[in-house]
């Protein structure tokens, strides 16, 4: 199982848009994709216009009362795409998790309990906050994708995030397989964008994804129509960039999974 968490501490960096777009591209390419909306605002669920049906188990009950995660899954508009939507209960998830033993590993355990696992990829969309549910989502992921905007505040927030990740991984004896910084809304004609990119290349070289997502109004237009950009405008700059991101991740994962020469 390949699992991605899309997270950044700074708000408005495009976490949900990129999660949804990436999920759609991977589904288009034939992967069976499960998306998990861990943001209490539920924007990913709203993007795909998905809600749990009446009486259906919700993620809260699955994590807190250990009901099967499979019962929380709702089909999304693409046949290869499924979603665990966010509901109002997400607001109470943190307080409910406090008293639970091994709380940080709840989602990982719930995913592993699904046997056989019917998905190729899991994408977890998080909100821009540090809480117990953030740990729950991060620890269920193998790859962390950090969207950043080409501005100073995004750059500054990265330092805090890396410090947090370093300390958290050491404390919990946890390690991601990969961490990738994904530059979003890049316009390379703007000097500040170029300056920011240079700084990222200099100080975060190992983690910076070599493909970027360029600024494209089609992302907003697609969100208004409640579809992913690849479905709304497949030839647009944004859709093509998302395809490159998906291809890059596929390549990296296949390389990491291929047996290393001894």
């Amino acid at each position: 199982m390949n699992s991605f968490a899309v997270f950044s501490m700074k708000g408005g960096t495009g976490k949900t848009t990129l999660s949804g777009s990436l999920g759609w591209v991977l589904a288009e390419q034939g992967h069976r994709v499960l998306m998990i909306d861990m943001d209490p605002q539920g924007h990913l669920s709203q993007l795909f216009n998905v809600r749990p049906v009446k009486g259906q188990t919700q993620l809260y009950y699955s994590l807190i009362h250990e009901q099967p995660l499979a019962e929380t899954i709702v089909p999304a508009p693409h046949p290869n795409l499924s979603l665990i939507p966010a509901t109002e209960d997400h607001f109470y998830l943190n307080s409910a998790l406090v008293s639970k033993p091994w709380r940080e590993w709840k989602l990982k355990d719930a995913l592993q309990a699904m046997d056989p696992f019917p998905y190729d990829v899991v994408i977890i969309d998080l909100g821009a906050s540090l809480s117990l549910s953030t740990y729950v989502a991060l620890f269920a992921a193998k790859t962390l994708i950090i969207p950043v905007l080409p501005d100073l505040l995004s750059y500054l927030s990265l330092k805090s995030l890396f410090t947090f990740l370093d300390k958290t991984c050491k404390y919990y004896k946890f390690s991601f397989d990969m961490i990738w910084i994904l530059m979003n809304r890049v316009n390379s004609h703007r000097p500040l964008d170029r300056e920011n990119k240079k700084a990222l290349e200099k100080y975060y070289k190992k983690f910076l994804m070599p493909v970027v997502v360029r600024e494209d109004v089609r992302f907003s237009e697609a969100a208004r129509e409640r579809v992913a950009i690849s479905a709304y405008a497949p030839e647009s700059t944004g859709a093509r960039d998302m395809t490159k991101v998906a291809q890059f991740l596929e390549t990296m994962i296949s390389q990491s999974q291929s047996p290393k020469p001894s």
Partner: protein, 111 residues
């Protein structure tokens, strides 16, 4: 400006176990050339769209002007005809007044 990036450079890094080292950036060349090419073609399309829009507006304005000038000619002709009519009526009025005055003279002489 670059000092701010250096001053806020990361000091602690997590160590992902499968993080590859990318020797070269395969998309680097593309990133420099592609946006320029795409922006130019986008601008070209926008300019052509604007020219088309202005051309359509210009044609419409020409059609409107022709219609209005035909209407103006018609109104002018009507005005000329009305002026002629007014002249005839003025002459008739003058003749009538003269007849009336003559009659009044004749009545006063008879009295």
């Amino acid at each position: 400006m670059e000092e701010i990036y250096e001053a806020n450079a990361p000091t602690e890094f997590p160590t992902p176990k499968g993080q590859p080292t990318l020797e070269q950036n395969p998309a680097a060349d593309e990133k420099i050339t592609l946006p320029v090419k795409e922006t130019v073609s986008r601008w070209k399309k926008e300019i052509l769209d604007k020219i088309q829009f202005l051309k359509e507006n210009f044609d419409q304005a020409n059609r409107d002007r022709e219609g209005l000038s035909r209407e103006m000619d018609l109104l002018k002709a009507e005005l000329d005809a009305s002026k002629e009519q007014a002249k005839i009526l003025e002459t008739k009025l003058a003749e009538t007044l003269e007849t009336f005055n003559n009659l009044l003279d004749e009545v006063s002489r008879a009295l």
